[in-house]
Point group: C2
Chain length 365, copies 2
């Protein structure tokens, strides 16, 4: 029996409908019994990297590393690229997590904080000179603020000697990234790639591994099996350090293949159309108009296309509960915003017609 319910959550979210057949074929072909040192798995790894690099326009001088989650990506990035000081732009809970991880790993992170729901005054911000790594959350899933990639590129331009790492967990593959202008990006697959959770992906400029080697020489703790030297050595051979989430790597290649066939520019255009449908359906209220649902992020230029966040008047639990009964699952607000906000995932597997139905349901309650 199939469930007639569609997930518009910000992740885990609705799977691509093709996932089922891909998994069945993989099991029939015993893909998940392969050794990670076999030629067959090496070929799968190569295929996934090729399709992902094509989809996201990743240059040759970048590695693709696989870890268990986007949070593990944050941990490994700090552990392998920072001796003492990272610098964190924090305007939401996921950026905060990145900062906290640096503290937990006994680094001395700098904190550049903005109000949650807002962006940064990039022109005025000075990055401390001894920052080794600059961390930005391009799409803050907890607040629905999406930073402009141009602002991020400028930070790199002004700080060419520092490594710039960007959290694009809930904005890939939609967000257009010029990898010549950043050093590292990471995401997990249960958002815009419409896959089951359990795989984190780090895309990193090969040159950054020199920093890891420097840390190793200085006897820093760079971790063990997932340190970047080990990950890079294995990536050079299209392998992984240990037996990885083979279903995840296999599915990612197949999903990227699907998206490449559809065309990334078409996906981007559709994402914008769907986001505009949402923001148009629930416009700003202005003061005192008493609108039930309205965008949380005030600056229209910062509103996320992939994870719009709305303030609600009458408790997010009531709205989410009513929507679920109608067959639509949406996310409630994050942490402090839990009761006062709803968040809606707008990813490539969500069709324009799905969004139409979602918005009609949301308006009717």
């Amino acid at each position: 029996m199939k469930m007639n319910r569609i997930y518009f959550t910000v992740g885990p979210t609705e799977l691509f409908p093709e996932i089922k057949k891909i998994l069945i074929d993989a099991i029939d072909n015993k893909i998940f019994s392969l050794s990670h040192r076999s030629r067959e798995f090496t070929d799968i790894n190569k295929h996934t990297e090729k399709e992902l690099k094509k989809l996201l326009n990743i240059p040759e001088d970048f590695y693709v590393f696989y870890v268990g989650s986007a949070t593990e990506a944050m941990e490994r990035i700090i552990q392998n690229l920072v001796e003492k000081k990272s610098c964190h732009f924090v305007n939401g809970y996921f950026a905060e997590r990145f900062y906290n991880i640096a503290e937990q790993l006994k680094k001395k992170p700098y904190l550049i904080k903005a109000k949650y729901g807002e962006g940064f005054d990039f022109d005025k911000i000075k990055i401390p000179a001894d920052s080794e790594l600059i961390c930005l959350t391009q799409n803050e899933t907890s607040t629905g603020v999406a930073l402009n990639m141009q602002d991020i590129y400028k930070i790199k331009e002004k700080n060419p000697g520092k490594i710039v790492a960007v959290d694009v967990v809930t904005s890939v593959p939609f967000v257009r990234i010029d990898f010549k202008k950043i050093d590292c990006a990471f995401f997990s697959v249960q958002k815009g790639f419409g896959m089951p959770p359990g795989l984190g992906v780090i895309i990193i400029r090969k040159k950054c591994i020199e920093k890891t080697k420097y840390l190793k020489e200085r006897n820093c703790n760079i971790g063990s099996f997932h340190n970047f030297i080990s990950l890079a050595e294995n990536a050079e051979k299209n392998q992984t350090a240990v037996t990885p989430n083979i279903p995840g790597i296999y599915l990612l290649g197949k999903v990227c293949e699907l998206l490449n066939k559809k065309g990334i520019e078409k996906i981007r255009k559709e994402t914008i159309v769907k986001a505009e449908m949402m923001y148009d359906a629930f416009p700003d209220s202005g003061l005192g108009t008493g609108k039930e649902i309205r965008p949380f992020v005030q600056d229209k230029n910062l509103r996320s296309f992939t994870t719009p966040v709305f303030n609600v008047n009458n408790g997010s639990d009531v709205i989410a509960g009513k929507m679920k009964k109608k067959g639509f699952v949406i996310s409630r607000g994050y942490r402090d915003f839990k009761d006062s906000q709803i968040r809606i995932g707008n990813f490539p597997m969500h069709k324009i017609s799905d969004i139409k139905r979602l918005l009609e349901a949301l308006k009717s309650i």
Copy 2:
């Protein structure tokens, strides 16, 4: 089209045939779209823990933690239970990995080494008094040596103040573990549980978390999201620290349910029968008899039931290649033993009739 090939590899290995239907049902029911904070996922987590605890007879005062691999389990165990010194029994490459991880994490591990293919003279060994953690590899997949659990219990008896952690990666669920007599065990699911890879499981006495708390107070680096304090806090709520490998946790519960229905004692008996069939088919050669295939481990009491290892005369590549053509995939030797040995997985999804066919094929080449 289904592949007519059966995997007798030591892991990843043949999947339980039921995996396909379980995955299809899960996708139809949108299990992999669930939030890891949802009540539905909490129920799944609870179910998996209940079935696993029943299968392996795990007491109430133990946590079940999920990580990405058995290697991550090793890393987190060292990171969270050792301030300075762990003590490692090393008689193969996976025990060596555990030791190396302690070094990589800047601890000062003690090394108790035996020849690969042999066990330890436990009565004569003295554990250094300042060892905080004692690490043993119960079933060494690289050599096919299985330590006797009674010897491991005696170590704990003699060292009641030290934490004893046991690698049972390729021996669960076959190996009978008395959790009252050890503190921690870990494994991954692509071996005896016949699942796709991507999930590591740590079973740990709740009291051990006091050591992690002590380390935290001493400002030690216990890692970030997967530190044991965070894992324990979430486990108390039947949750996980971050979005986990939900397919892995879900499948593990369903596989344990299957195994519990079949009965663990029946599985253990069958495993012994199948192992004896293998060792009987290829007995010791004695000197100069020129037998092509013979057990690597000389001490019969130490021969693994789940991962028998055999020396071969004419190159493991030739044998493995010929077997593959006949539809049987076996593992070659590990590292230094690559060319001179074959390794055969004997796990619960391998039927007695499968082993018969395998042995006939192996004898005919």
